[in-house]
Symmetry: D2
Subunit: 348 residues, 4 copies
């Protein structure tokens, strides 16, 4: 039995982690850390958990926490994980970072995309951190002390591109990515752009070709392809709470029929519990995955055979955040990978 | 281990039952009966279950089915359960009816509200059928062979009224009920009134003071009060998939403060796993219960002390249908009542 | 040609007024007053008006403004209109108050419901203010210098109740009102309860039996009935931007069939341009009125004949706010009543 | 004054045309043709027009209609316009086709994309038909007898690409287009994929790289570029009633900064009433155009300077269908181009 803490527990990813860990048979103790809500019962923040007012948010005390628990799930703003991660590493506590502080291997990218810099204390841990996409890095995750849980968009995009990239099918030129996200991806803090009347019946792009998840996609795509792959990424908000639907236009290096492409994906994900490869008759949709840890993927080929169109759907708070974090947790602590993650999507 | 069948398995209630029963530890075999989709794998109807194409819909053969399984969950149109129920009863198979054929004790009400009549073969079973609202009829359900699973609206309204009715607080005059429902309550069959462009950003009443769930509410409310209680019921569709939010204006027979009323509710539901009584600071909302078997209730008193305003929220496909059916199933087969029903709401 | 100003022009009601007045043939000049956005072009606040960046928000200078324009539309928080109204009245400028400061005739109600008090300077104007529901007070509005534009909920509820109240059909006991509102009714300021992920697929009551619009409904209902009428009011937010759908349960003083009741409504509203009485086959719905100044009403009678169920739908920003304000403006300045208000609803 | 008819008047485009033409000062008579609803008043189909039950749907009689009116707006399924167009052309009646029968100049494309073929009677008219995108073909439209009103997706995509294509900035390789559409784009006929519970909180691609609007985009893009341009098109449904948001990834033939690109767009659309070019700080969004005839466009350049990302938003029923048809009508009959189209978007 494992003792865990969720830091940043009053956010959406934190709440989703709590929901998942409450029914995880291997977890015996959950500490909920929230500066803003310390001392309050969970029902104040999470009306769906009003029956669990026995659970109370606690203030953050990095040293004490690191020695009290076996694993910390950190959901903190960019650059804010430093002290906590260092405390955890010193104490031998494992750390799953749902933030972005350890996702990029190249330290030079942090100042540009996240406006903070790693230092000599964190750099050794950055080099040891494992990018926590189990379908790509399963064995490394099992042994990791520090796991960088991927961003929601990169998870969808990378899972839908991996078979093409690994198979050497991707040609020159950028991969063009258009991805839709539910508004929960923007977090629980109200702002004009997420005010209900502004977003209902709306859809809008943001951070066109400048979004922080771009270098993360490029890093892993390049690693998969064995050579530099560049990505142009256009994220768009749609009027839904949850879900990501990603479409990528991929220049093909060599010919591939749609049937061959789908077969390639089936082979790549044959043993995977959470990646469902859809056949030539079916396309991914958010409602088929929302409330679950599934990522549905498929691929089509343009009529002229020069472009592959890869698509993926997932729930940004599950496979795109908390679900994937629990999947990593299971790998790190030796539980069956699907423990606590067997819920089927809530449909319709 | 129990063998079960879902008849009408391709509808929304059927799909929800399937989702719940797939992870029920006491169920060893599930037959999915659907005339329309017999021979097709579940993924054709339910995109969220595309990974379970090992499950295939079967045609309906009442006699054969009744001897093959221990319990049938029937989700059939009004008047259509007859043959199946009779076959099940003959075979000693238990039956949980998610339809309306056995909810009303007075046979005279069926022709008026449901356009069919019971006959001499079904009447004995009508008189033995137990109204499957566990919080009101738990002991009878345990022993029942035939359970009439309540309607979604009556479940919400009755749970929010029961403490007042049982306590003798309800005075003369009708209870005025205004209840909102998500569109999944209208079923999976497309129709102009449920076409997405027509319902988004819309809200509309329907069957004002004539809805079929009215006599069901009156039957149980009268039973609780020990005297006839009449209900005026205005159902309204709102642009959501799931959820019911019911508001009832109740004439008070004697004075009651809001604090006393909430205390009365807490006492009434103290031991209940699925009814959460909200305090004077909190009000029910659909998002706090969607995806779970919870029904949240509370009550307020009008400034002049003459009217109680009782409110309830639940997920129409869980506590309002399939979740409640599984709760009844657990009672009938001796499983802990919450088995398979511990999922917390999906939020936000 | 009339010169006008909108004070509080950066809110939703202000923006709606601007949209309507921009195409009003009798308006020659529009001043947009917004403390927060003074100096900014309208496109910064209203992305739908990005082509009108020639319009710039101005700071509030009550005296100067009152002498520069013929009519002020004030959309200000409770208690904030005082100085501006006094300046306008001194300058002979007419004032249409979309706020609540002059809606209630009884000064004693303001401290309780709105946490401010009228004083000796404003009291004379309070007694001269006309409640701006044209269908009830048309002639008084024509001559008014100060019009109190009704609340969105009271407009819907009163229009749906007026024929019964005026006709002497309403018996003893409270009128029970359950009304749904789109989230734009809560204004343009983001807050957790209006954050998109919290409100989509949700519905929730608020201020149960304590909402500020209650005394406004009671005042006018009592005036219509010629005796005190009390109202229990339960407002509920639904996941839509615009729209109000109000349902009122009315105790009947004498018998009335549904046909007679609908005929009574048709007679009452025969000459009205903006009230559409729906027949026995049709029920009000938000989508049939959104984007227009229409209020659709109808009525049903309970099976026992003791309760009338009156229903109304309107667009809270049009007939519930800005549209009604323009209707009042037309009456006050001698324009045909429908000037600038002929847009049909945007459907679907 | 002009007499007009709307054929296919009970669909969404037909209803939108009716709303626009009802307030068009140059239209004196409107015939509403609907086989399905002949003899019924408009309120039966369009609840928002319940006050106009004086308008009654008529059956289709091509010869009679063509001699009774000056202009027919046809909104008919693929291949169904033949007889009506021929009758109109014989009678000297002008025809604005909101369907697809005359959009593609190459007759060989119809069997493949629309499953019908032109014949010797229609081919001469096909060659005379003008593609009704006023911003590209204004002068030809003025003189046209038969106008092929563009598809909703092509209107958005072409308006956002035209300045780059005309300016010679588009390099080799396909233009990759990802476009979101509200569900009203799929028409008024209910189907499982458009059932409210299926589409709310959902998003899904369809007809990936096979959609009928692809050759239409390629035809006009090639014409603008002066050489063949190929398009890969991925349409996606989002949970909104109205709106299109199109994103196109364009390979650049030569360097261009974002500032230069936006300036190019401003220059291209300087005199246009309905195309709003957004600056470097603003991005298109559906809510800024819904309910209006505006198309908002802008462009960004990828960090490596090799890709332009062009974006557009419009209301599929206005600028994407009925609004554009009225714009064409105005050009054909000599009315100012914005007549009847000055409504600002309904926001929020």
């Amino acid at each position: 039995m494992v003792k865990v803490a969720i830091v940043g527990a009053s956010g959406y990813a934190g709440g989703e982690l709590l929901s998942l860990l409450l029914s995880h048979p291997g977890v015996e103790e959950i500490h909920l850390i929230s500066r803003q809500h310390a001392g309050q019962p969970v029902g104040v923040v999470f009306p769906h958990l009003v029956h669990r007012d026995d659970l109370v948010f606690e203030p953050l005390e990095p040293e004490k926490l690191s020695s009290a628990v076996d694993c910390i799930f950190g959901s903190t703003p960019a650059g804010a994980a430093r002290e906590l991660v260092l405390a955890a590493m010193r104490a031998g506590c494992r750390y799953i970072d749902l933030g972005a502080d350890f996702r990029l291997r190249d330290p030079a990218l942090y100042p540009r995309y996240y406006r903070f810099a790693h230092d000599e204390e964190t750099l050794p841990w950055l080099s040891q951190a494992v990018y926590g996409l189990p379908e790509l890095h399963r064995e490394a995750i099992r042994k990791a002390r520090l796991v960088a849980n991927p961003g929601c968009y990169p998870t969808a995009v990378l899972l839908s591109l991996a078979p093409l990239l690994k198979g050497g099918y991707v040609g020159d030129g950028p991969v063009q990515v258009c991805a839709l996200s539910g508004v929960s991806g923007a977090g629980a803090t109200p702002a004009p752009g997420y005010h209900f009347p502004e977003m209902t019946e709306n859809a809008r792009p943001y951070q066109v070709a400048t979004h922080r998840h771009t270098p993360e996609m490029e890093q892993e795509a390049s690693w998969l392809a064995g050579r530099p792959v560049s990505v142009n990424f256009v994220p768009q908000l749609i009027p839904a709470s949850r879900g990501i639907l990603a479409t990528s236009f991929v220049p093909l290096a060599r010919e591939l029929t749609c049937g061959e492409a789908v077969a390639l994906y089936r082979q790549a994900y044959g043993g995977e519990r959470f990646v469902r490869v859809l056949d030539e008759e079916r396309l991914p949709q958010i409602k088929a995955v929302a409330g679950s840890n599934f990522c549905d993927v498929t691929v089509r080929i343009s009529p002229d055979g020069r472009t592959a169109i890869a698509m993926a759907a997932l729930d940004n708070l599950r496979k795109g955040a908390a679900g994937q974090a629990v999947q990593n947790f299971n790998l790190m602590f030796g539980f069956p990978e699907e423990t606590g993650l067997t819920a089927v999507p809530v449909y319709p």
